[in-house]
């Protein structure tokens, strides 16, 4: 029974994501980048069934403190609308999943420290933020693995 559960869990395709054209504006302290993200089918299904997905951006300036920003994607079944929640800011609502994902094409992150002129930005799907019963299967299920390789960012001229 355990083996069956494990085999079933290991199936499925992984999602993928790529961050590109990352530019940091020291004056506005805004880091902007293009994000090409493809969530796996299991992640999309979960999102459609009300499971919140948390994307964690890991910003590592070459000098200065490390910063993590969490974007939460969720679906409200009653209103049948998608919601994007970025840290403590007001949520943004989308009437369709396509619109929600389209809103992720361009990311804008306010950095706490403007001193660094370069650094790296990474992205991963935080499975530890999933509801408790899903954390263990998410550990062994490949569909829950989503990581964007580190992308270099530069200061805009």
């Amino acid at each position: 029974m355990i083996m069956v559960a494990l085999l079933a869990a290991c199936s499925g395709a992984e999602g993928d994501a790529t961050i590109s054209h990352a530019i940091f504006d020291p004056q506005t302290r805004m880091l902007e980048a293009d994000l090409d993200i493809n969530l796996s089918q299991i992640a999309l299904d979960a999102l459609d069934h009300g499971i919140p997905l948390v994307l964690e951006f890991d910003i590592r300036p070459d000098a200065g403190p490390r910063q993590k920003v969490r974007w939460e994607l969720s679906f409200l079944p009653l209103m049948r609308r998608y919601q994007l929640l970025i840290d403590d800011s007001a949520p943004r609502f989308f009437s369709s999943r396509v619109q929600l994902l389209a809103a992720l094409d361009r990311i804008r992150i306010l950095l706490t420290d403007a001193s660094a002129s370069s650094g790296q930005i990474r992205l991963r799907l935080d499975t530890s933020a999933l509801p408790a019963p899903m954390r263990l299967p998410a550990l062994i299920e490949s569909g829950w693995r989503l990581r964007a390789p580190a992308a270099e960012w530069q200061t805009s001229r």
Binding site: M1, I2, A5, L6, A8, A9, D45, A46, H49, G50, I51, S74, F75, L76, P77, L78, M79, R80, R81, A90, P91, F93, S128, A129, L130, P131, A132, P133, M134, R135, L136, P137, A138, L139
Partner: protein, 703 residues
């Protein structure tokens, strides 16, 4: 160290597995993950612990099978106990695990019963309907505000909004912007919304394009509907309507419930997988723990019994004295303690028995030695058969060398050895009558005639009646008795005679000294001859008395260890100094040691050498060969002369007193030699060599 590691590893692994399972279970129940990225490490630790446990179980199982095949002590009991504990523990573990998994599978499904799902869907539909009607109303109000003709009449927008808001019963927050997004006026009748943000560029473009649209969103955590309407020539009117206060909490609750239920429904399979994994870990821990406990704990539990079995086997094989450590104060400890005491007592008993057996063997050897050297014949027997007979018995019965009466019946012995038939017949009759003691003189059959004086006794025995008969040559006994009597007489006679001899000799010499010069020649001649005769005869009498003394002197029993060659050299030196004899010696190069009476042997050697010199005649120097040979259990000493040889008719009787060919001999020289030889467990014999004679003394040396 290795043993401690092997013991601690499974326990540590089991503990780690238990902690991992509990941690996973706790994490699965909590809303927020406590483990985060530690899931991978936790699973790695759990997998390693499982491998360690499996390894420990396999090691114990292999050890058990190996012991079983080698038939080691206690292995069967160990296997039986292990099997029993496995049967008691493994099936319940599997049963509970199977029931638990089944319960998880069905129990989770029951959470999502069809009526609950239908109710949830109905509630959601109802909620959506409420929200929809509210949206329609919001759109109507928004449109009615935007289309009011007061805006086109050039009245101040702020005044228009104030008037409009005052007429509306619903809670609204209305704001007016120009087409560039600049705020023109606001009007509100609710504090639920505080100055919302202006429309975004995209919203402005859209409303300019479509004329009107509505969005629902949360503003200050309040669900609102925002209706944007384009008023031509004036700008954009944004009407925000929050949900009514009496509906908002229900809608919020319904929304949270909808989210939770949707999540729960979606997590159903994931929950099953999670709980199955955790249950699997716990079940695996219980199963492996049961197996390891059954194998390892059983082996340790019955280890004292295994040790006892092995030690018992050692005792059964005759290795006494092994003890075991007493490790507990329970019944097993009591059993081990008792075993140790038994083993020690067995060892002590075995040592006592060995000592007793050794003493018996020594006694038997001593008895055998005594019987072999005994001149009397000894036969032990029962009514059925002869048990033993000593060499003297064979000799007295004239049994040929190689003849054997042991284990024969008395009748068979009589037939095989006819000369002793009268004795065996009489012994048979004694065995039948079984008297306690008897004594009889029995004549042997055939020639030469010999009478045996037989004395017998019945030995005390619980089983067969055993008898022992001691017999001797009646003639030898009579001779011995005569010799003893003669020796006693000779000793007394010598004592009585020797005392007055010296005064007689002194008196004769004094007479001669005092009166010889005073007498006439004739008288003096008579006196001289008479006194010389007296002195000479007194000397002769002294020699005879001394010879008597030597012969009758009892053995002192005071023995010492000495070199016989050295003693011979000392004796020969006396004769070499006189120049009357030449000696040819033949000794071994090494000392010939003997435990004996040195002075008695010196006397015997003097007698033999004196005889040899006297036998060589008056023409000096006489030649005497003396040889010494060391045998396995004896020393042979021979004295050879080149004289006249042995007298005619020389036999054993010449070794008895009063046999001599010498005119002045006492007849005790050879008798003394024989007596000294016998005192040393030896014999003396003589034979002609063709030129002279040779006397041979054989002395026993023991082993």
């Amino acid at each position: 160290m290795k043993r401690v590691l092997l013991t601690l590893a499974p326990l540590t692994a089991g503990l780690l597995l238990l902690i991992a399972a509990l941690w996973l279970a706790a994490d699965a129940e909590s809303a927020q993950s406590q483990l985060g990225g530690g899931y991978v490490w936790l699973f790695a630790v759990a997998a390693l612990a499982i491998l360690v446990l499996i390894g420990a179980v396999l090691r114990e199982a292999f050890a058990l099978v190996r012991d079983w095949r080698m038939r080691k002590a206690g292995s069967r009991l160990n296997a039986r106990f292990a099997m029993l504990i496995c049967l008691l523990s493994v099936p319940p573990t599997l049963l509970v695990s199977a029931f638990a998994m089944r319960f998880v599978d069905t129990g989770i499904d029951t959470w999502f019963r069809a009526d609950v799902a239908a109710s949830q869907r109905s509630a959601e539909d109802l909620g959506r309907e409420v929200l929809g009607s509210f949206e329609r109303r919001a759109r109507t109000i928004g449109a009615s505000i935007a289309t009011d003709n007061q805006f086109s009449a050039g009245v101040d927008p702020q005044i228009v909004l104030d008037n409009l808001v005052a007429r509306i019963d619903d809670r609204v927050f209305v704001s007016m912007y120009d087409e560039s997004g600049n705020l023109l006026a606001i009007g509100f009748n609710t504090s639920a919304v505080v100055l919302p943000p202006p429309p975004t560029d995209a919203e402005r473009l859209r409303v300019l394009e479509v004329g009107q649209f509505a969005v629902s969103e949360r503003v200050n955590d309040v669900l609102v509907w925002r209706i944007l309407v384009h008023v031509a020539g004036t700008g954009i009117v944004q009407t925000i309507m929050p949900l009514p206060e009496n509906v908002a909490p229900s809608v919020d609750l319904l929304e949270r419930t909808a989210v939770d239920y949707a999540q729960l429904r979606y997590q159903r399979e994931a929950m099953k997988t999670t709980f199955v994994l955790i249950l699997g870990l716990v079940s695996l821990l219980a199963l492996l723990g049961s197996l390891y406990t059954a194998l390892a704990a059983t082996r340790r539990l019955i280890q004292p019994i295994t040790d006892l079995a092995r030690a018992t086997t050692e005792i059964a094989q005759g290795r006494y004295g092994s003890t075991l450590p007493v490790l507990s104060n329970d019944e097993v400890g009591f059993l081990t303690s008792g075993f140790n005491q038994m083993s020690i007592e067995l060892l002590a008993a075995e040592q006592r028995e060995r000592h007793s057996r050794s003493e018996i063997e020594q006694s038997r050897a001593d008895l055998r030695a005594v019987l072999e050297r005994l001149s009397a014949g000894v036969i032990s027997f029962t009514a059925d058969r002869i048990l033993s007979a000593n060499p003297a018995a064979y000799s007295l019965l004239d049994v040929d060398a190689g003849g054997n009466v042991e284990q024969c019946t008395l009748a068979e012995a009589g037939l095989r050895f006819p000369r002793g038939a009268p004795l065996f017949r009489w012994l048979q009759s004694c065995a039948a009558a079984a008297p306690m003691q008897w004594r009889e003189e029995i004549a042997l059959a055939g020639e030469p005639s010999r009478a045996l004086l037989v004395r017998g006794t019945r030995l005390a025995s619980d089983q067969d009646a055993r008898f022992v008969a001691v017999f001797d040559d009646a003639a030898v006994i009579a001779h011995s008795q005569r010799e003893a009597a003669w020796a006693e007489v000779a000793k007394r006679l010598a004592h009585e005679i020797k005392n007055p001899l010296t005064p007689i000799q002194l008196a004769a010499e004094r007479l001669r000294h005092k009166y010889l010069a005073k007498m006439t020649a004739d008288d003096a001649e008579v006196l001289d001859r008479a006194t010389n005769t007296i002195v000479a005869q007194v000397d002769a009498l002294k020699r005879i008395v001394n010879a008597f003394g030597d012969y009758t002197r009892p053995s002192s029993g005071d023995r010492q260890r000495f070199d016989l060659g050295t003693l011979l050299d000392e004796v020969i030196a006396l004769y070499e100094q006189s120049g009357q004899c030449q000696f040819d010696r033949s000794y071994p190069p090494e000392p010939v040691l003997l435990d004996g009476q040195k002075e008695r042997l010196r006397q015997a050697l003097v007698n033999l050498i004196t005889n040899a010199i006297e036998a060589s005649g008056p023409s000096p120097p006489a030649r005497v060969d003396i040889s010494l040979q060391r045998g396995e259990r004896s020393i042979t000493l021979s004295v050879r002369d080149y004289g006249c040889g042995l007298p005619e008719g020389f036999d054993e009787r010449w070794f008895l007193p009063y046999n001599t060919t010498k005119p002045k001999g006492s007849g005790l020289g050879l008798a003394t030699v024989r007596k000294v030889a016998e005192e040393h467990g030896g014999t003396v014999s003589a034979h002609d060599t063709g030129i002279g004679s040779c006397f041979v003394i054989v002395l026993a040396t023991g082993s």
